[in-house]
Symmetry: C2
Subunit: 112 residues, 2 copies
């Protein structure tokens, strides 16, 4: 079970990454885990969450405090070689959307 | 296998809905399907995509041409009773983030 990603009051930024996997699994899980750990140490990183169904379609959203922090992470060397592997091996297709979060609402059953 | 959601040139808007399901399944799939069909007929709807893993955590993103079209859909009567059922039955927690999409990139293996 996932916990809710806590983000600050808007505005902040989100990267919506949607992807369809190939059937090539080599290094995928390990790199994904390491990449998330590395991202979480970058300036401006606020959080990330990910879901993928049995059909191989997935959505990952990462949250950042500025467009600049997103651009810096995009240019990170380890992230770039991972992007290359994504294109050559892991993904049939993907899209990346950079967004400014304007409003944010939450419901939590535990809080009634 | 999912196909890429085709959206226009930015700016446009996205609603990022993240949620953790309960174990209550009654009406969930049917209402979800009908709700998507109804949403797709609303003015300003551009597309939607959804992924949920085996742990019950899911992300749905819908795309719209304006904040006004998002607000109108939020107030739709059938959508509102579905939201009530979501709170009472289907979701342990959820968040809704309304975003302005600033940039959009895509990669498709089929296009080389």
């Amino acid at each position: 079970m996932a916990t809710m990603t806590q983000t600050p009051e808007p505005p902040y930024y989100a990267v919506i990454f949607t992807s369809q996997r190939t059937e090539i699994d080599e290094d995928y899980s390990e790199v994904g885990k390491d990449l998330l750990e590395l991202a979480s140490k970058q300036p401006g990183f606020l959080g990330a969450e990910s879901a993928r169904g049995a059909d191989g379609f997935g959505i990952t959203v990462s949250y950042w405090n500025s467009i600049e922090s997103i651009q810096a992470w995009k240019q990170n060397g380890l992230h770039r070689i991972a992007q290359d592997r994504g294109r050559s091996d892991w993904y049939r297709w993907f899209t990346t959307r950079i967004c400014r979060v304007e409003r944010h609402n939450a419901f939590d059953r535990a809080e009634g």
